[in-house]
């Protein structure tokens, strides 16, 4: 059997930092065949980098790719929420491909691969959304805390990230980030969630940190610590920089907090950009599930 031919094929929309990091990850891991990177500008540094690496580039956008006759199993969309709406219409109507959306468009179902993995299916899911970096980093430990508690009364997720890792779109509208992250935390916990994001400009840049705080009717701290630790190791299989820095701790009566830090793998993005790393890792993990890539 020729392994090279059996690889699922993918294309990436967007030649910014996230798109190129994802591309270099795909090239390094060799599980998928990267058919092309689609951009919007001929002079994009990201596209040039891809071209040098021997990847086909499509500087005139998705129409150029679709009219090329090339077919892929799936797309990753690392553009913007607004562009995704346009891209999705074309992908839905003109192809049979799935799309994994890394923008905060909230068009597709919002998934956290380590939690929702079993429910993801290529037959029913053609558009899956990666929520936010805060959603990807908090949901696993939130899920573990929820499983260890009798009754969850309140949930809070706060993240701090290096200023340099927050792109202009994120900075312009933190409200989108908060809305999307709150929706996912509420889905996992069953109660309304409060989400906070703080940008820290310190140099050297700080690693992303996410704290999950829950108020619970009852929680066994030992159980919670075990559950959180095992969940962290599970996530770390695809995000090696995902680390527990504060195990579940009772910070006041009935209120429990746990904190993880996320260091990036350092493909194209710097290591401090753990927030961008975890969303790319989640996208790739979701693609593996969709294409039943052995793990």
């Amino acid at each position: 059997m020729c392994l090279a031919l059996s690889k699922p094929t993918v294309a990436i929309l967007g030649s910014g930092n996230i798109g190129i990091d994802l591309a270099e990850r795909i090239l390094a891991m060799q599980e998928f065949s990267l058919v092309g990177v689609i951009g919007r500008r001929r002079d994009s540094p990201g596209l040039n980098r891809m071209s040098v690496a021997g990847v086909s580039i499509f500087p005139d956008g998705i129409d150029e790719f679709l009219s090329s006759g090339l077919k892929v199993d799936g797309f990753f969309d690392a553009t913007s929420a607004m562009d995704h709406l346009r891209h999705w219409k074309k992908i839905e109507n003109q192809t049979d491909s799935w799309v994994i959306d890394l923008t905060p468009s909230r068009v597709g179902r919002e998934v956290i691969p380590v939690i929702d993995g079993d429910s993801i299916s290529a037959d029913t899911d053609r558009n899956l959304n990666m929520v936010t970096c805060g959603g990807q980093s908090s949901s696993p430990i939130l899920h573990a805390m929820v499983e260890s508690a009798k009754e969850i009364l309140e949930v809070e997720v706060s993240s701090s990230i290096a200023s340099d890792s927050a792109g202009p779109a994120t900075r312009r509208n933190l409200d989108n980030y908060i809305d999307s992250t709150e929706a996912t935390a509420q889905r996992i916990s069953g109660v309304p969630a409060k989400v906070i994001l703080v940008l820290n400009p310190s140099k050297p840049q700080v690693m992303m940190r996410t704290s999950v705080t829950v108020r619970a009717g009852q929680m066994n701290l030992e159980t919670a610590r075990g559950a959180v630790e095992s969940m962290v190791s599970k996530v770390a299989l695809s995000v090696p920089g995902y680390m527990l820095v504060l195990p579940p701790t009772e910070v006041s009566a009935g209120v429990f907090m746990t904190t993880v830090s996320v260091e990036g793998a350092g493909y194209y993005l710097p290591k401090y950009a753990g927030n961008l790393d975890i969303i790319n890792a989640a996208a790739l993990q979701t693609a593996r599930i969709l294409e039943s890539v052995p793990q």
Binding site: S163, R172, D175, V198, L199, N200
Partner: protein, 333 residues
């Protein structure tokens, strides 16, 4: 005319661990309305929408506090502080608009002005008065502070305030910044300064700001505020009277406002303490005091070591959860 922005019922809420009640708002606003303060700012210490385990839960909702203040204030304007990342437009700012707030201060860490852009632009579009605020302004150079202030103005802010959130500045630091801001923002643009007393420079810094181009000052009755508190309103009144801006009876109302605060909040009154000096020297956010005390006690490490580590790790406001991690790390040493 020197503007006067009263932050007693907002920054003061830090000292009260955000337990301010509507009854206290009513009593204070009734008195403040007879005084010469231009704006009374109300809400959670970290601004509306910030009630949380991370920075402290409010005793009453922002809606209830603002509604009470709106009812009581006939003359003075009602203001809020809002930090994007804590509050969202849809959930929190829209509520404040409905409550009839007059002055919207949109705030960010000193280097992060652009996170205010969406809120400022939407508010400006609605025709309400906005002010851009940069917090922890000691963590950037004068040049960066000034260029970030220009960004806020470009996003529509009708005025600007720089905050010495950690109470680090000396009068000459404030002078240099005030002059640079005045030069860049133009002769008529409103520029305010917000002091903290951690190293005892609140009054001297405020005078320095006014003498070097700022035209508005934040003050708090009895200094009620985070850390060692803000510039004392009653002391500012004395200075304003000395300068001929107020007569004796006008200045006296500020003293009565401080008296009320002292009566209402005796156990919570901020003071310059060994802790505040340590936090000031470390350049750490004044609002961290309660969490530092709690984490110190629970992990058996000194507050001094925690303050120093907060400074060394360059924590910005809103990273209270990191204090627990620091205490844990120090206890494992």
């Amino acid at each position: 005319m020197i503007g006067l922005h009263d932050v007693t019922l907002r920054d003061g809420n830090h000292a009260l661990r955000h337990q301010l009640s509507t009854e206290q708002v009513r009593r204070y606003c009734d008195l403040a309305d007879q005084s010469k303060v231009d704006v009374v700012e109300v809400g959670h210490g970290n601004g509306i929408g910030a009630s949380s385990y991370l920075v402290g839960k409010s005793f009453e909702t922002d809606f209830d506090l603002l509604s009470q203040a709106r009812e009581s204030l006939k003359r003075a304007k009602l203001g809020i502080h809002v930090i994007p990342g804590f509050a969202t437009f849809k959930r929190d700012v829209a509520m404040a608009i409905d409550c009839g707030v007059d002055v919207f201060r949109v705030a960010a860490h000193v280097t992060e002005a652009d996170v205010c852009s969406a809120h400022l632009e939407r508010l400006t579009g609605l025709g309400v008065f906005t002010t851009g605020v940069l917090m922890m302004s000691h963590m950037a150079s004068t040049e960066v502070l000034t260029s970030e202030a220009l960004k806020l103005r470009d996003h529509g802010a009708g005025g600007f305030v720089f905050m010495d959130s950690a109470g680090v500045f000396r009068p000459e630091d404030v002078a240099v910044r005030s002059r640079s801001l005045r030069d860049s923002l133009g002769p008529t643009y409103p520029i305010g300064f917000h002091a903290h007393n951690n190293l005892g420079y609140g009054l001297a810094n405020s005078i320095s700001a006014i003498s070097n181009g700022a035209d508005s000052i934040d003050a708090s009755a009895a200094g009620l505020g985070a850390g060692a508190g803000n510039l004392n309103l009653e002391l500012w009144g004395v200075w304003l009277q000395d300068q001929g801006h107020l007569d004796e009876s006008e200045s006296d109302i500020f003293i009565s406002m401080a008296e009320l605060i002292e009566d209402l909040f005796t156990p919570n009154l901020p003071r310059i303490s060994s802790q505040s000096v340590r936090s000031g020297l470390a350049g750490a956010f004044s609002g961290y005091s309660p969490q530092v005390a709690m984490a110190s006690q629970s992990h058996g490490v000194s507050t001094q070591a925690i303050w120093r580590e907060i400074g060394a790790r360059g924590l910005v406001a809103g990273q209270e959860s990191a204090i627990w991690e620091i205490a844990q790390d120090l206890s494992n040493l």
